[in-house]
Symmetry: C2
Subunit: 314 residues, 2 copies
C-alpha cells in the first residue's frame, strides 16, 4: 500500500519528525441528518476518513453537482440511497487524486478526475474505487467537470440509446402536436399527454417524477396523486399505436453500465461538441440555498457546490 | 387519361377494327367470401376491373406474398381490413406496369414494381395509386420482390428504429438470459418472460399476437386467454428497470410512413446485403394449402402465391 503524502499546502500541518504519526486529517462534509426540509443538511467536520484500500484512491474534491435526486433524497423520496440518514449525499464530483491505493495503475497523484457514486461525494475528501473515476480532459474546469456526469449521461442514453434520435426528427422536452420523441421528467398524468402527442414510431422516455417535488417537504398528497395517475399501458395499445415507452433511471444503473457513455461524452467535450452550462456555484454551507434555487426552478444550467466558502452567480 | 395498350401477348384477343370497343378484361383473383377456415378463400374470375384514374397505374401481378396477418384476417382476427368480406386480400405483390393513368410521370409501361396495399393484391390485375408502388431493382426476381415488403419493413423498423441495434449487442427472436433486444411476435404471457430477460437499457418490441393463431379457425378461448394475459406495465416499473417496451404494427402505418424504409431496403438489396428467402411458391388455386404451410409453421422463408397454376417447393 503506497500512501503518498498529502500535497495540498493550505491543509498541511507544520513539518513533523519522520517517525511521528501522520497529522490527523480533518475535512468538511455535508451530512443529511434525517429526511425533511432544507435544515436537515448540515456541514460537519469529519476525521474518520478511511485509508484507500486496494483499488481505491483518495480524491480532494474541488466541485460537486446538485441533482433533483438529491432534493428527492432529502425528502425521503429517493429509493437508491445506500443507507438511512445520517449519510453524506452527492452523486458526482470532480477533484484531484491525492493518494492511490495498491493495484491502482491507471491513476497517479495529481490527476484530475470526475467521480461518480451512489452517495458520499459532497465532501472535501473522498475515498473511492478507481473504477468510479474518469480522467478529466485537459482544459476542463472542475466546475464544468462536476456538471457533466448525471445530466449528460441521462441525456445521452435517453436520446441515443432509447429514443434513437435521427436527422430531421423532432424532440419535445416537456410539450406541440406530432413529435418523434418526448422526454418526460414529470410523470403522472403528463405522461399520457406526452404519449398522445407522439407520431407513429415515436418514443417517450420517462426519466423522473418531478411532479412529486411540490415543495421543500415530502407531500403525501402529491405522492398519492402520482401513484393514482401513474401511466400504465398494455401490449395491445402499444401495438395499435406504433409507439414505444422507455423508462430511464440512472440510479438503477451501475458504473460499469455507463462507462462507455462517459468515455464518449468526454471525447465529445474534447471535440468542442458539448459544453456544460453552470448556473451558479455555492459553498457547502449554502447547500440549503443551492437546493432552493433548484426546487424553485430558478436555475438554468447546473447548480454546483464547492467546499470553500465562496459564491459566484452567473 | 392516357391508357396504353395491354401488351401481354397471351392475353391479347385477335386484332379488331379501330373503332370497336376494347376487348373485355377478365382476370383471376382470390376472394375471401366470409370469415372462417381455409374454404372461405375461393378463386373467382373477375371482369369489373376499374380503369386507372389520375395518379393510378394498372399492374399485372406476377407474385404475391402471404402473411400471418392474412391468416388472421381470414379468421376475422385482423382489424385492419378495409371492408367486410367478400373482399380480395393481399398486402404485397410484384408485377409489371401495363397501363398508366394521368399525371403519372415516374412509372412507365413495362416497369417492374413492388406494390403494397391494405388488401386487394391477390389478383392477376391490380389498379393502385402510384404512391403505393416501388420500382424493382435490376436483377430482382418477382418472387423475391414479393417476399420483401411486409417482412423486411417490419424487421428493419423494429431493429433499427425501435430497438436501435448496435455492434456487440445481442438480439433474441423468441428465448436465454440477459439480452439487449427481444422481438416478440407471440404476445400474452410470453411478453412478460421476454421483458424479464432484458438487460438494463434493453428493449422489447411487440409485433404481433401469434398466440391467437391456434388453428385454422377462430378460437374464442385463445382470444380470451390473450386478453387476460395481455402484457401491461406502468411508468414506475419501467423507470426502475431501465427498459423500453415498443409496439409495432405495420397495418397501422400508412405507405408514406414506410417509404424511406423501402427505399433503404431496396438499396441494401442492390448492395447484396439482403437476400429474401422464398420457402415455396403456390398457385392462386392452392391458397388453402399455402396457408396451411404457414399455419403449421412448416415454412422457412416466404410463402409466395402466383396467378399461374404451378407449384414449386424448395
Amino acid at each position: 500500500m503506497s500512501v503518498e503524502e498529502v500535497k495540498e499546502p493550505q491543509q498541511q500541518e507544520p513539518q513533523q519528525e519522520a517517525k511521528e504519526p501522520e497529522p490527523a486529517i480533518s475535512y468538511k462534509a455535508i451530512v443529511l441528518t434525517g429526511f425533511g426540509g432544507y435544515d436537515k443538511l448540515k456541514v460537519e467536520i469529519k476525521k474518520d476518513l478511511p485509508t484507500p484500500k486496494s483499488g481505491e484512491i483518495l480524491v480532494r474534491v474541488k466541485a460537486a453537482g446538485l441533482n433533483f435526486a438529491d432534493l428527492m433524497a432529502r425528502q425521503g423520496l429517493y429509493d437508491r440511497l445506500p443507507s438511512s440518514p445520517p449519510l453524506i449525499p452527492g452523486m458526482e464530483c470532480s477533484g484531484v487524486v491525492e493518494v492511490i491505493g495498491d493495484d491502482v495503475t491507471d491513476r497517479k497523484v495529481g490527476d484530475n478526475v470526475i467521480v461518480m457514486n451512489r452517495a458520499g461525494l459532497w465532501s472535501e475528501l473522498v475515498v473511492i474505487p478507481v473504477g468510479h473515476t474518469f480522467l478529466m480532459p485537459d482544459g476542463m474546469g472542475f466546475e464544468e467537470a462536476a456538471a457533466i456526469p448525471v445530466n449528460y449521461i441521462t441525456a445521452y442514453m435517453m436520446i441515443y440509446d432509447f429514443a434513437n434520435l435521427r436527422p430531421n426528427q423532432s424532440i419535445l422536452v416537456h410539450m406541440a402536436a406530432g413529435v418523434d420523441i418526448v422526454l418526460d421528467p414529470l410523470g403522472g398524468a403528463d405522461t399520457t399527454k406526452g404519449f398522445n402527442l407522439l407520431k407513429p414510431m415515436g418514443k417517450i422516455v420517462l426519466y423522473g417524477a418531478a411532479n412529486l417535488l411540490t415543495g421543500p417537504k415530502r407531500n403525501p398528497l402529491a405522492i398519492a396523486k402520482m401513484w393514482w395517475n401513474k401511466f400504465s399501458i398494455n401490449s395491445l395499445q402499444l401495438l395499435h399505436s406504433n409507439k414505444a415507452v422507455c423508462g430511464y433511471h440512472l440510479g438503477y444503473l451501475e458504473v460499469d453500465q455507463i462507462r462507455d457513455v462517459v468515455t464518449k461524452l468526454l471525447s465529445l467535450y474534447k471535440e468542442g461538441k458539448i459544453k456544460p452550462r453552470v448556473d451558479s456555484v455555492w459553498s457547502f454551507e449554502q447547500i440549503g440555498d443551492a437546493m432552493k434555487q433548484m426546487q424553485e426552478r430558478k436555475n438554468i444550467g447546473k447548480v454546483i457546490l464547492v467546499p470553500e466558502a465562496k459564491k459566484t452567480e452567473n
